[in-house]
Symmetry: C2
Subunit: 765 residues, 2 copies
């Protein structure tokens, strides 16, 4: 609710394109909205509009629609994407001091729109990520009416299906056109903070805070690029506070025109680090514009973190093309931050709401905090979704979470047409200039799976060449990759056991050889109460395709019986007797599956340098999904498993398979994983098999000291499975005196059913 509160306050701090301003007066607006079929028509009626928000939510509220998340009611909302939407607000001309200016300001209007003041069209824009700032002063009457007319959702008319293909000629995020975990619901409306604002005649409109570091990362040459109105000859103060809050710079300077660059140097700087490698140190920069009496008329604040970042080739990747005809090796994806090679553990972030207009700072912060607690140091902001609001990046800066930021391109062949390229250039420029000031944004990526054969873009595609060019020009010190995956990187698999080959994740990961696992999934059912809140009671049991289960992604979402997979679960656990049991089974599989992948990816270090699962969160309540956090911010059991698998230092086992039979020789390879840049203490690891109340000691491993950021392979446990009266058993790795390093793995156990019939045992099938 943070966002709403802000808008109702006057004279509050607020963030403009590139900084936080004060001493400008914000004037909130009350909006109504109405739909119409033609751009030039008038709506038949207007209803109250929440700003920021989405027209769909306004209609639902005013017209008492059933919630879009229950049953298949999302379909009731579909008609709205093809309408024009007219936002309207009336306001009296505010009392302006001599020379003061009145601006209309918006951080986001989704997606294509005209703006009218008193019936006159004063603005047009395509693109939801470029802030709008219009000086209204000279056009004001005593009573004024402002209209924002939003066009129907963009759709490529040549798209063969009503799906993401329709998004391929626009910079509208493709996910809302429908995905295997997102219903088709295409938001439209004013989606970020929007208000009137009075400013002094002399004011700063834009700031861009940048820096370069010297070779040994001890000195920063800072610049701030200022532009504004009537600045020439004005004095301003530039103050800098170090991470402890101490003022370390304070100089008064004279503006060198309406657009100019100011410079200063800081020595002995403290670097910004992700939370698991150091402190995310932030400096606070303050600009104060002064009037002729040396009174502060405007204050701009920006937090800055200093870091050097590169993508380099991981160890072992240069030597791969050894024979003729020679060819190049894999692409660089090893993150090197402040000279340190960092193994990136994290997750793919998707929109935390179908309607970005109602995402709050609190939601962002709660989700990011859970990421930090899960030992994640990176979110990949997947290109199917939106570019997040400023509060997201501010929180990542503060909490030391690295961000892999994608542009809004996903799974399409975006064209080299002039119109699309112009919109992309405008939007990408806005995005880069805003985000480059956040130390957390450590890499740019063109978008999701653009080189895959369902997208068919290549290095030759002009949109990707354009993004490469823009990121180089505007943010040369942050790496750019065209898409994920690049050659050598892996996306997938997304299930515990392949429906075509029967191969489990354990076997798959063992033969996988990737530089980075930047997507891999493991579905589970949502908690029972969530399921009951979205599936009609009469469809609840048993779950079936063709019901609300299917449109909530339990069936036919991706392939086969994804994401619920009841048949696979039954093959391991026997048929579930009820919903509670099914959900429990599903969550065991997700937990064990994700542990297997994260830990194997870590064992493949240093060749492998990233493990980011698909996906972190979800935009609405699903019935089943690969996410580890349910909508809006509710961790699944799988979240805890992932958290364990990402501990910087831990015992780990490389496993063979999930289901074992009595008499089989169980094996597991023991490892110690160390992502810490510190030599470890020697440890003693005891390994047990636990079945019911039996705990059998299998092995003791005397672990030598591990070098910094280096894993160690240990012995292999071998153990013939005895006769047990259990359905499952556990492999337990226990580190003497250090339970925080312990690890446990669960398995299905199958006894021999007929043990001594006719002299020879018959195996249980």
């Amino acid at each position: 609710m943070q966002t709403i509160k802000r808008l109702t306050c006057f004279l509050l701090l607020f963030t403009l394109l590139t900084g936080t301003f004060c001493q400008a007066a914000q004037i909130p607006l009350q909006w109504v909205v109405g739909s119409k079929k033609e751009k030039t028509a008038l709506p038949e009626k207007y209803i109250p509009a929440q700003v920021p928000g989405a027209v769909q939510l306004d209609v639902a509220k005013a017209e008492k629609y059933a919630p879009y998340y229950f049953d298949n009611h999302w379909k009731d909302y579909l008609w709205m994407e093809d309408m024009y939407w007219e936002y309207k607000t009336d306001f009296n001309k505010p009392a302006l001091a001599s020379g003061d200016r009145l601006y209309f300001f918006s951080k986001g209007i989704d997606y294509e729109f005209d703006i009218y003041l008193n019936g006159e069209k004063i603005y047009y824009q395509e693109g939801m990520f470029t802030y709008v700032s219009i000086d209204l002063t000279d056009k004001l009457a005593d009573k004024n009416q402002l209209k924002v007319v939003i066009y129907p959702a963009p759709k490529d008319p040549t798209a063969l299906a009503a799906d993401r293909n329709q998004a391929r000629e626009s910079v509208k995020p493709a996910v809302s056109y429908g995905w295997d975990w997102h219903p088709r619901l295409v938001p439209l409306g004013i989606w970020d903070e929007t208000y009137l604002e009075t400013r002094k005649s002399s004011h700063i409109s834009n700031t861009l805070f940048e820096y370069t570091l010297n070779e040994d990362l001890t000195r920063a040459d800072l610049t701030v690029t200022l532009s504004g109105r009537e600045l020439t000859g004005k004095n301003y103060r530039w103050k800098i506070y170090d991470p402890s809050g101490k003022e370390i710079a304070n100089q008064t300077l004279k503006a060198e025109g309406d657009q100019f660059v100011a410079r200063q140097t800081l020595s002995g700087i403290e670097l910004w680090w992700p939370h698991d490698h150091g402190k995310p140190a932030l400096y606070r920069q303050v600009l104060e514009l002064l009037d002729n009496q040396n009174q502060v008329t405007q204050t701009i604040t920006k937090k800055t973190g200093f870091r050097k970042v590169q993508l380099v080739m991981a160890e072992g990747t240069w030597v791969e093309p050894v024979i003729f005809p020679k060819s190049r090796s894999v692409a660089p994806i090893q993150m090197e931050l402040n000279g340190r090679r960092i193994f990136c553990k994290g997750s793919n972030w998707v929109n935390p709401d179908i309607f970005p207009g109602i995402i709050t700072e609190k939601t962002y912060r709660d989700l990011i905090r859970l990421g930090v607690e899960a030992n994640f140091n990176m979110f990949r902001i997947w290109g199917g979704g939106i570019i997040n609001k400023e509060s997201f990046f501010e929180a990542c800066d503060e909490m030391g979470m690295m961000v892999w930021e994608e542009f809004p391109l996903a799974c399409n062949n975006y064209p080299g047409k002039a119109k699309y390229l112009a919109t992309l250039k405008q939007e990408a420029t806005s995005i880069i200039l805003r985000l480059k000031q956040h130390p957390s944004v450590v890499m740019w990526c063109g978008g999701n799976e653009l080189f895959n054969n369902w997208s068919m873009m290549t290095e030759q595609s002009l949109p990707l060449r354009l993004l490469n060019s823009l990121t180089l020009q505007l943010d040369p010190n942050t790496p750019f990759i065209m898409t994920s995956p690049l050659f050598g990187m892996g996306h997938g698999n997304y299930v515990f056991r392949s429906q075509s080959t029967g191969e489990e994740v354990y076997q798959l990961m063992k033969r996988a050889h990737n530089t980075a696992y930047t997507e891999f999934g493991m579905p589970s059912a949502s908690p029972v109460d969530i399921i009951k809140s979205i599936i009609p009671e009469n469809e609840l049991w048993p779950p079936k395709p063709g019901t609300a289960w299917e449109t909530h992604h339990a069936f036919k979402a991706w392939e086969g019986e994804t994401w619920l997979m009841p048949e696979m679960l039954a093959s391991y656990f026997g048929p579930a007797k009820n919903l509670e049991e099914l959900v429990a089974q599903s969550n065991i599989i997700q937990a064990e599956g994700y542990k297997a992948i994260y830990e194997e990816a870590r064992r493949q270090k240093p060749y492998c340098s990233m493990a980011l699962n698909w996906c972190y969160n979800e935009p609405w309540p699903s019935a089943a999904n690969n996410s580890i956090i349910n909508y809006p911010v509710r961790p699944k059991p799988g979240y805890n498993a992932v958290k364990e698998a990402c501990r910087p230092f831990m015992a780990s086992a490389r496993l063979e398979k999930f289901a074992w039979k009595e008499g089989e020789s169980f094996t597991a390879e023991l490892w110690m994983l160390n992502d810490v840049y510190q030599k470890s203490q020697p440890q003693k690891v005891k390994v047990y098999a636990i079945a019911g109340d039996q705990k059998i000691e299998l092995l003791t491993w005397e672990v030598k000291s591990l070098a910094e950021n280096t894993n160690l392979a240990g012995p292999t446990v071998r153990f013939v499975l005895p006769e047990w009266d259990v359905d499952m058993f556990t492999l337990s790795l226990e580190v003497e005196g250090k339970p925080q390093y312990n690890s446990q793995y669960q398995f299905v156990y199958r006894p021999l059913v007929i043990k001594k019939a006719q002299g020879a045992p018959t195996m249980n099938l």
Copy 2:
């Protein structure tokens, strides 16, 4: 000698940055040159300088040095690279009509230099590819002295060896620092046309002719960007002549300032094609600047060809990453020109002279014509060498030869340092703007083998991101790749039989699976007379390492006994008795090896789409080299073999190996190769084995009609090798009534030495 003649004429047509001008008066200059250790010192003496040329050649002539190509005399020249060189010329102020201007103009000064007029420094530049144009008028005295002070050859002082690594912080071509087929000789000096020039007060200084094509390639929207001096309000004529010479446009326009863009549209255009796919149609554009009496005061002429070009994914390349963890496929390298997928056959072009200053238009034209005659449609201008002079590209435009143009980066890790990036940006901008006006330049490439592990650049390297960005901004309709090879493409092998594995080119190519073979070599010895002109008589026989043979690349050039390989030759043919026999053996191997590679690459179409051998020509007389043309323009026997292997339509055989024994079962797979965009006639192919005067018919293949641009695999010939009294035999494919499609392949034959000793045959080893 064309270049020299030009310079001695007044009022001649000459080429400026982007066009051909007339009505400006060229004034040649007589230069002297002298060396000095310090920039500020004066040379002890001056010697006559040839311009364009190189200081090394001037010194050699004046001081009577032994030729650098004989024995090891190139070493005598080494000291010159570390000196400053002062070019000096005196001239009287020419009689200038009222308002006329006098310019100093140079198309190339190598590499870093200051220019002084009458003792005053008036110019500085780093970079040999950016034209220099300086208005001297306001600084002229009655008697004037112009000096060009050239700095020592650039060398990265941190380079560990005196080799190409020294070139890694400059835009100086790396090859002259030494390569496995190029001695270390680093040219310095004024290397392209350079003169004084009088221009009218109102004149055009730069033109840029561009166009865009409509979707179906029938209409061109032309622009010309003009800039100059005192143009505002002047009239000019823009005339266009079609490829037949007919005037198809003639309009008189008014200049819209000193820099502006003029536009017009041509419909029903004829496209430019490479010679083997159509006519290289060129339109002639003429700009005439008019004075107030409508008299022409300046004429600029430019030839323009219209073509659309893309690099696309070849057939079969999208489906390769079929299993999880999924990853992307190979990079696009299939050339698509005017909508047609073209199999590129050609060669890697290297500097035709160690000293680019003395390369003539005739040399260029003779070499390109031989390429056309060899059925080549593409030259890869290898990034270790120079950017060629205008006459090279004019000839390629006219003769329909496609050019893959690399920037001057090769086999180094060029840094992301500000100074290097600034020089690269300046040089690349000049190169792109000049070359983009040539239809023959169908692709840009960052440079040679930059992603290989001896270079260690990646997609993240700022110089490559910069080149991608500049080519996109300045020439978006021509594709750019960062380097060769990209993943999926092959460089190598460079010998007939691997010295480590013993594998021959036949086996290697059969298991190779590449989208493009953009380098592959097959060495041979130079003709005996050339060898005698470079190796002292006492070292001629037998060839040995440690002699002039070695510095002329016969030994230790690359690995083992490259490029002469006498031991490998002896293993096939027995020890050569003399130089003549050795040279003959070597040229058989080159011919058969190159045929095997070109034809196998073609058989791998459509997955494979390029075959470019290493290399075409050479910069000095070598003793042995992979080139198919000896210095300066003398085809080897291998040239004729390659010419045969590149015929658009031909019979071909996939072979097993080179040396066969009596009694072995000889096999060869028959193919018809068709690169023609036309359905072929049915053919009858008869296959023979020829040994001495015996000709044995093996098979008749009734070949059905081949689809356009499609090959056809046929039967496999099998044949037990009889007892013959020969050393070699031939497989002959003879197309009935169409001898121009015939193909022949040679093999070594080894009889059973002891045929019936003690009842059982013993094989000849």
